[in-house]
Amino acid sequence: MSAAHAADPKPLEAILGAYPAEEASLIQILQDVHRAYNYLPCDVLATVAKTLGVPLAKVYSVGTFYKAFSLQPQGRTIVKVCTGTACHIRGAAQLVDELQRKLGIKPGETTPDMGFTVKTVNCVGACAMAPVLIVGETYHGNAKAAKLDTYLAAGEADDAD
């Protein structure tokens, strides 16, 4: 539990104020929390559970069920490499290798400066433009390992604000 660095409660207040305090709002709230904090902080989940009157175990259960939620702090920019069949064939592995060489992290890890988190994901449904690399919210089709610097710089600029 990372109670050591308590999360800023400000964004949470705004999020909780935007939805009715009932169980049905849980996933929407978790999505907004994830967007605001880039992960689901432990103390924030406790506040969400209390406000909605949902048991903490249920909130944790939902938070761990969906791949879209992370319980670990993540980098400012999330880099996803699609490793679906088409992307795999067209060189997703090279993208992963190159990312590891450039950023020094394996899939699922975050750079020490909290700049980037690298993940591999299964098919994102854009097989025609394989291999696909997603940096922040931008999809790069026919991604090339040689162009990684450009992709990362653009993603970093997007996520800076």
Partner: protein, 277 residues
Amino acid sequence: MSLGKEMGTQAGEKGGRMLSLSVDGKSVQVREGAFVLEAARAAGVEIPTLCHHPALEPYGGCRLCLVDVTRPEWGGWCKLVIACQFPAEEGLLVHTATERVVETRRVVLDLLLARCPETPLVQELARRHGIEQTSYVANPEPTDCILCALCTRVCDHLGISAIATVNRGIGREVAPPWGEAPPDCIGCLACAEICPTSCIPYETSEGSRTIWGKTFEMLRCTRCGRAHVTVAEADFFAGRGGVPRSYFELCDACKRKEMAATFVKLSRGAAGFSVGA
């Protein structure tokens, strides 16, 4: 959504209409809103289950209670459903031992045995269905948990919800939030006692009990001194109302003794009258 509503109203109309259906050729009557499993049991037909408990909502987790259902007007077509969650219907024909049912159930048991290769309950059930060894790759990290969720459901049912299933897919397990001592747990052992494979570890020793990594102080029976419930459990149920805190002063055995003594006293007091005449 609409189905849930419909079923809700059916269940709400308890004592209403009775439905007649047939299970393996035996005709049986159940109240409206009952599920096929209940009908089968009323007909004396045995259907194996692992996640079913009469005190809890049907869950449909173990998939062992598969049956074939059909209707005369379906012209021989039938569908595979789970008996615990399929509502009984007037005129429904249920077949619990067709070749398809037996085969599918064997696949389910085979998979369950692959997950829990060392669990006696699963081994026994599999053996009864003719499976000595799983045909899949046995779990290299054998577990006794069959993910029937009886533990989490009973915890919810008591209004505690200290544990839940976490993660998904092969990583799914029953755990408290963040794997740490659950703040809401009252140490009542309902989860450990309902577990069909007894795979939830706990320890009750002199004056304390540990479960899910949380240690509880025990309340001792004021008569025999046995540590019988956790202080947290007594506080929880007394705080919720229904029973006074003093209810937990005596353990169950001493309560029975006291009750027996009361009966003796009453019968002696009433000795002048002829009881039972």
